[in-house]
Symmetry: C2
Subunit: 427 residues, 2 copies
């Protein structure tokens, strides 16, 4: 054997993943709906059958995580139990039951010269997915890629390496049972961070898209270093604006849900904007309701004059995604003032208006430039399942390819089929 330095070995290993992924992508691109769904159902069966092995692997990760001093929240994200494993298997079956996204014709038209043109959905190719501690992402992300005909190269967090490895073994077993190559879902088998840099370089043009799932530092590194397109979910700094003509009870119900249903999700509202015409009556009621739910409010001077128990707010607070039981509050002069605040501070994820005024609602929906604009509902509906997409791989906050919840159909691209009967183009 020749002597390779570790870095040479890693590059060779990663380049090999790229080559195999391209072959896997070709097989998946040409696979039938039935074959892909057979693989997904077989994966679910393997997850159930191997639950003992998965739990053993997870116990190793949990032990190492405790020894490393991971926080209780991180340990909870890492933990698997019977219910969570059943959730993973059920998730795979739900993805199998989704409509087939590949081969769908977006449109078809005929030109005056008789050429017929069809715009047809096709897979993207090879997708690199970089995520952190939750081991269930291994199954969700791999399965969404299979459903949409893409090969996946997965890079999970080192904390969940054993759990993700055990789940990954079930996925490849399912692929092979359906006659599909295991190379359609590969997992990077080293925790060496240099492997991420190589993946981000595109592995000799093998990788067509990178999807990072995780905290700000991960996303920032991916966006800085990637040489291939990135579909990033940055943050959800979401607003709910209570307009002068809001129904008061609806406003209270929506803001309580939008802030407190779950505080740690990206669709949680972080800032309440409330019109000065309705604030004197409504803000005390909202403050009481949220305080009862354990929420801290931080407001501007006008808000603090109107309701008891609101702490002072800073500009930094308005720019902060709390992901916690804290709400920024600002009393606004009118809809222009509210739109201006959203334009300045929104992360472009989800913003809502509560109003009974159709003209104000129409203006808000047209002018707010976020991926999801909501009228008279909770911002916590920002979710692929709630949109009817089934599973989602994240909520995209960029401007191109896909915005909002990214489901199987958003992991496709398109091509044109041009059908003629001998047409040649005039000079």
């Amino acid at each position: 054997m020749t002597d390779h330095s570790p870095i040479n070995d890693l590059q060779t290993y990663m380049d090999g993943l790229g080559v195999k992924a391209k072959a896997g992508a070709r097989a998946l691109r040409l696979a039938s709906k039935a074959q892909k769904n057979k693989a997904l159902l077989a994966m679910a069966a393997h997850i159930r059958a191997q639950s003992g092995e998965i739990l053993q692997a997870n116990a190793k990760d949990m032990e190492a995580g405790k020894a490393k001093g991971l926080s209780a929240a991180m340990l909870d994200r890492l933990l698997l139990d019977g219910g969570r494993i059943e959730g993973i298997a059920g998730g795979l079956e739900a993805i199998a039951a989704l409509p087939e996204p590949v081969g769908v014709e977006d449109k078809r038209w005929t030109r005056p010269n008789g050429l017929t043109i069809a715009k047809v959905r096709v897979p993207i190719g090879v997708i690199g997915i970089i995520y952190e501690s939750r081991p269930n992402v291994t199954a969700d992300a791999g399965a969404l890629c299979v459903k949409s005909g893409n090969a996946a190269i997965l890079r999970g967090g080192s904390e969940s390496a054993h759990s993700s490895g055990a789940i990954h073994a079930c996925l490849t077993a399912g692929l092979e049972e359906a006659g599909l190559p295991a190379s359609a879902i590969q997992m990077i088998a080293t925790t060496d961070r240099a492997a991420v840099g190589m993946l981000l370089s595109g592995l000799n043009d093998s990788v067509s898209l990178i999807i990072p799932r995780g905290g700000k530092n991960l996303i920032a590194r991916v966006q800085a270093d990637a040489r291939v397109p990135v579909l990033a979910h940055l943050e959800g700094l979401c607003h709910t604006y209570v307009h002068a003509k809001a129904d008061p009870q609806m406003a209270i119900d929506i803001i309580c849900n939008a802030k407190m249903r779950r505080t740690g999700v990206c669709g949680a509202t972080e800032t309440l904007l409330i019109d000065k015409a309705i604030a004197p009556k409504l803000l005390p009621l909202i403050t009481d309701a949220l305080t009862d739910l354990g929420c801290e409010l931080r407001g501007d001077d006008r808000a603090r004059e109107l309701a008891i128990g609101i702490n002072p707010v800073t500009d930094d607070d308005y720019a902060t995604e709390y992901l916690d039981a804290i709400l920024s509050v600002k009393v606004t002069d009118d809809i222009d003032d509210a739109l201006g605040h959203i334009s300045r501070y929104s992360s472009g994820h989800t913003d809502a208006i509560v109003t009974a005024d159709d003209a104000a609602a129409a203006r808000f929906l047209a002018e707010v430039d976020s991926a999801i604009c909501v009228h008279n509902a909770s911002t916590q509906y920002a979710d692929g399942g709630e949109f009817g997409f089934g599973a989602e791989i994240g909520i995209a906050t960029g401007r191109i390819h896909a915005r909002g919840p990214v489901g199987a159909e958003h992991l496709t691209t398109y091509k044109y089929a041009v059908m003629g009967n001998g047409q040649t183009r005039p000079v």
Copy 2:
């Protein structure tokens, strides 16, 4: 005045362009169809009215270009005359006449909980366009951005700086006549190459997309350095495959057109694949027809045995976008052989099959992974105008957001409007 070093000045200038572009993008995003079209028609009128000034500016560029020793082909791309200026004005009017791409609802559906969700086309934001010598791109690119509601930051080639500047003045005059800010179409007013690097960095997240138009070196630099998404047109290494069951005369007509109608366009066929079952009869006829048109053929051994006047081909030839009157030829065993060759050498732009066999055509259209797959027509139909898109800003060869001809509708993205009547999400 404080003393700035040149680099500080350039960074300040470029950052200022970014800030102004965002304001321009906001104005355009909210502009009505009528207002945008008024601007486009006013631009056309200014182009016609200022044709004298534009020709004077072009004369300066031509003089400098000749002094610099530009090639005849580059000087021809740079040259403007009365006909070309009228072409620019007519192009602006044609873009005004296109369907409005913003606000179009891709779909609308209602969830079981009563939420109605609409997926609506919206502008992307600020688009940076980097191009080379053709001054007409200034008008085409700026106008397509206006039509699609995007602000543009243009960076033309230094050779065409005077011509592009004179055209740009007509565009901003048109914007202002329609009550839109001149900042909606800005042109980088320096030929300093460092400005391109700053634009590619995104100007503090002001720029949402970069579109390079030019040769391989330009595209490669943009893809290596960009920190924002790039919609690139790489090259058109296009194939025409003549299947065993092709109509012979149709095959001759299509290949002559696909290769020789214009040899310098990206949709020109560079390689002929011909099935061994039909090659003995047909290849000599194709060779004669192409030779009469002044085309050099380079073929494999089987091709050279079948027809007189074919030079030898190399693997490098199969990988070359000639953009010239040269055609690579390969005799293929069957459709698998042809698909394998295309999979290896195609640039993913446009590939065609000529056949009377529906099953072979269907397989080709399904399995070839290029942006445009053609049956029984010339690859030179790869063009936004021929697709009915009106003007195009290029033909995208990447995998995400847009593939094939990029017209005004492809310079949009989408958002979701979620409309409820008080829905709160269950825990």
